[in-house]
Every structure is written in structure tokens, then in C-alpha cells.
Symmetry: C2
């Protein structure tokens, strides 16, 4: 069964870039990707390391049959991606502005979807031809997909740096809690990859398992890691 | 060489509790601790699981010779910890209010330090007698210790849940980036433990490794995980 997946590189303090789109914070957080052979080959760049990170990128590229992205991300990327964008697959762009589809070299097509995220994901599922649908981002689209209960799998790539400020993947939000299960962890010297299955919404509750049989006081923060 | 360490349980969206001190969000995030045999034994509670999480708690208890905590955390804990607090070691409380030391059963002593964090850590180091000094928190104290360059090792226990709102371990902060290195990852079904060595401050820079030899446009977010 094909999945709706998402991947995001984040700093240890939860930012996927600094305060601007493409800035020093973004470069630091995504450095592990830039250095991989798999990513550089896809972009036609020289060099790159063949390691666990590169295998992970290659795995992602192979598993994904179509992408869904937000309009703002498309606007930022349209020109720099050029004639041969790195997706090599159908890309569904969620937007309020209708536009003719755009065909590029290498198999990348951009289709503009004006009737919402769920429709974009359904169209991507058909276009993916049995492979996974990847939510490319940005953060806002990804959060909406999670809240709508449409995401099956989330993989975070945690770069070991505190950048202090920027764009948060998970900002404060007024919604039910969402439970996940970690299904895979890949530990490398420069980044930690954690893959999660998304289980769905849950209601948090006070629980008294930290209260002894004697009725001893509830455990307090200081004695808990 | 003894280390200055810190541990914190956080949700996947970066909160160590919900909006209040001891609330449903806090209980969810720290559930993995409450369920361990090692923690329950220390508190005198029945039950508990003997698993990788419990080993990790036991390891932490054995490695730590003294604790440093903020005044607010002490205020919240003083009464519920009771006559036999779970630390069983010297605890240095960073505060502005002088107070006589407090001796409890089981080896826990609270000493109130009014001349700052660095002094508290130095006193804890002496008291720890060759073992590690653990920063107990709260979040504010931990952030100050990191910013002051006084933390050697940070271990995060990432609970697989988005709680949406609460107290953030890492809030927005106007400081240099801080680089870390992941040194150990322990994957369990209910929580992911990542241990970091803290390397120190660094200045983030735009880098052009994502730019091809041909001068191709800098890689854009959408084609990066």
C-alpha cells in the first residue's frame, strides 16, 4: 500500500531554516543532504559522499512516485529549478491561483490544484502509480496535512545544532495531540534520522501512574529526566 | 573527567510539558520514565518495566553525583518530594533568596546558591566527588547553562507525540548557534533517546556546496528533505 510520506530536516531546536527561506540556518540544517552522492548526482553536481545518508536519499527518491507542495515553495523554486527540476515525477502544487500545467525535462510536471490539499493528495496518489506520495512542504502545508489526518509516515532528519531562531516545523497549534510510533532510527555522526508511523489524534490525560499505591504525591518534574 | 550533563524528555514538537507545570502534556512526555522499574524503585512505587528505558534511568542515577536546579523547580517540588526526595545526592538550587541548607533522608541535601549558575555548578562538581553533575532544569536554567558554555552533554528523550502547545525546551533565542555531536541513539518503541556532546558556539554561514561547478542555482528547499 502506497503511503503519504513527509521528510524534513530540522535543527535540534526545531527549525527547518533560519528566519529567511534560504539562509545560513537552512544551509546548516540541510548540509547533510548537500554532501550526499545521491542528491548531487540527481542535481548533476560533482562530488558527494557515498554513505548512510546518501543511501537514505536514494531510498527516498526511489520510493516516491509523486510530490505535493505548497504554492509558496513552488514560487521560490520555479526559476532556480530550471528546465530539468530534480523531482523527475509529477508534482501537485496546492494553490488558489489556477494555472496551466507545466511540463519540464526529465519527467517533472507541475499541476496546479485549486480545490484543496485532499484533492491534491488524491491526484498525486493516482499519478504516483503505486509508489509513495511525498509532501515536499513547506512547513505550513505539512502541518495542515498532519492535522487533516492525511499523513502516514514522517521522517525527521535532526541536525545536531541549535540555531536559535527561524521557521519552525511545529509551531504552537490549537489541535488535539497526534500520536506517532518511531519505526526506524539511523544514527550517523552528522545527523540522526527518525522515521515515524503517524497513528492519529489522541486526547491527553492526567494519569496517576506516577502516584504510589500509598497515595504518595505525584512525581514532580525535577526527578524526571 | 566528570561531566556537566542534562536530560530532558520532550515531545516531537519540542515541549517538555503542556502549558502548565504538571499537566496532561507533561504526563504524556514523561510516561516512558514513569513506567520504568528503575524510576519506580527509587520512588518506592510498585511495578515497573525492566527494559532499555529502565537501564537508561539506572545509568543516569549511577552516573550523577550532584544536581543543579532552578529555584522555581525547587519551589514546585519541595513539598511533594517529602522527607525522602529521590535525588539521594547533593542538590544545588540557584536562587536569589538566601536560605539555610536543608537535609533530607536518603542522602539528599538542598543547598541554596545565590551567586549564580557558574558557582552552583562549581559547588556541585566538588560535591559530586568525581561523578557527573546533572542540570535538573527547568528549561530556563538549562538554556542559561548551554548559553554560558557550561554544558558538556545533553540527552534528549523524544516522545513520539505532537502536543501542540506548552513549555518549550528551546525557545527562540538571540545567540550564536551551538554545535553538538550525536554520540549515542537508543531506539525503543515508545521513546527515542539521543545523547549529544556539546561542542560549543559556531557562526552559521551561507555555503555554496549546493551550487554546481557550472554555477547552477543554489539548491532550493523543495528538493531537499
Amino acid at each position: 500500500m502506497a503511503l503519504v510520506t513527509a521528510q524534513m530536516s530540522v535543527s535540534l531546536d526545531g527549525f527547518f531554516s533560519g528566519p529567511n527561506d534560504i539562509d545560513a540556518g537552512f544551509h546548516r540544517v540541510t548540509r547533510w543532504v548537500i554532501d550526499t552522492l545521491a542528491w548531487r548526482e540527481r542535481l548533476g553536481f560533482e562530488g558527494g559522499e557515498s554513505n548512510a545518508n546518501s543511501e537514505l536519499i536514494a531510498e527516498l527518491q526511489a520510493a516516491t512516485g509523486a510530490y505535493v507542495m505548497g504554492r509558496r515553495m513552488f514560487d521560490v523554486g520555479e526559476v532556480p529549478w530550471g528546465d530539468n527540476p530534480p523531482f523527475r515525477a509529477p508534482v501537485l502544487v496546492v494553490t488558489h491561483r489556477a494555472r496551466e500545467p507545466l511540463s519540464r525535462e526529465g519527467g517533472t510536471t507541475f499541476t496546479f490544484v485549486t480545490d484543496g490539499i485532499q484533492s491534491a493528495i488524491e491526484q498525486a496518489r493516482t499519478a504516483a502509480n503505486g509508489k509513495d506520495v511525498a509532501i515536499s512542504g513547506g512547513g505550513d502545508l505539512l502541518r495542515q496535512v498532519i492535522r487533516a489526518g492525511l499523513l502516514d509516515q514522517l521522517e525527521l532528519h535532526i541536525s545536531p545544532v541549535l540555531i536559535g531562531d527561524g521557521m519552525r516545523l511545529f509551531d504552537r497549534a490549537d489541535h488535539d495531540a497526534v500520536e506517532l510510533s518511531p519505526t526506524r532510527t539511523v544514527h550517523t555522526p552528522g545527523v540522526t534520522h527518525i522515521r515515524y508511523k503517524v497513528n492519529g489524534p489522541s486526547t491527553l490525560a492526567i494519569d496517576d501512574r506516577g502516584r504510589g499505591a500509598s497515595g504518595a504525591a505525584l512525581a514532580r518534574r525535577a526527578d524526571l529526566p
